[in-house]
Symmetry: C2
Subunit: 143 residues, 2 copies
DNA sequence: TTAAAAGTCTACTAACTTGATAGAATTTAT
DNA sequence: ATAAATTCTATCAAGTTAGTAGACTTTTAA
């Protein structure tokens, strides 16, 4: 949920890139996300330096990074952690296996690295920009 | 954990394919898996018709399907459910999105289907047989 | 025929995660 | 000053996960 909501909110912010502020309440309403919950999510994104915000009247959130520089993989890692299925094959959240005798020759590891790369590649290639493009072309199709 | 343990146990059973029974206690000891926990896991695999068992002295578990016919995707689905990151893009565990206005034109869906396909392909191509081959070639390398 | 060795089944628990809510505090424009 | 906005911390209920416990059944070998 969190990750999905984050991506939806970020796509909105990407559509508004360098065009001012978007308010939490607005995004929440449009995407049907519980407002208070979205607050937390946006806050986490702020701490991760993906978005920034301005308080007070007329304030709100805005995207700091260029939409092409924010991938689904980035967002996934913030909210759901490792992309890898096993901690021992994770690049960003590595943890040693307790039950494994020799990590270097573990066949599971070798195969799970392939799986991780499969997922990681697609998730890294999918950015806010590519999501935005799909959104726009879908909107056009609908007309 | 469950999924990892299951795969480890299945690789052992695959190595013993059509060569008789392997006991829970044995596999548990070799793979450092809590025995009682492994019992549950093997039972689930039996209910999923991946393995079968024989009770009594000299009994144990054995693989029913050919190692090339059991993929990591199959096992993952038994223990962890959907491969897709969102239920609304899952093939085997589909559920409708509550917050989505129009599934047909949802840009998230379109992109997440690509991600699912990336993961699904690699996980479907990785079978007990391919894991076994890696195990064997690793054992050889070690000599 | 009986005891031991094996799997079967059901229930339970502690710790953690998730999705969400609540409310007080802070900042800013007018 | 005040209203509109974000910020921050705490809390909660429900669900999941990893693992444990124990009673039961089936099989076989002595």
């Amino acid at each position: 949920m969190k990750c999905k909501y984050a991506i939806k909110a970020l796509v909105r912010l990407a559509a508004n890139y360098e065009k001012g502020y978007l308010q939490t309440a607005d995004i929440a309403a449009k995407e049907h996300i519980p407002k208070k919950f979205l607050e937390q999510i946006l806050l986490e994104l702020k701490h991760s330096r993906i978005v920034n915000s301005k308080q007070g009247i007329g304030g709100g959130y805005y995207l700091i990074k260029h939409p092409s520089k924010v991938s689904v993989a980035d967002i996934y890692r913030i909210f759901d952690g490792a992309i890898a299925l096993l901690p021992c094959v994770s690049l960003n959240f590595y943890e040693k296996c307790e039950d494994c005798d020799d990590e270097k020759t573990c066949s599971l590891r070798i195969e799970f690295i392939k799986i991780r790369e499969g997922a990681r590649q697609v998730m890294s290639l999918t950015t806010l920009q590519s999501l935005l493009k799909t959104t726009e072309s879908q909107a056009k199709r609908k007309k």
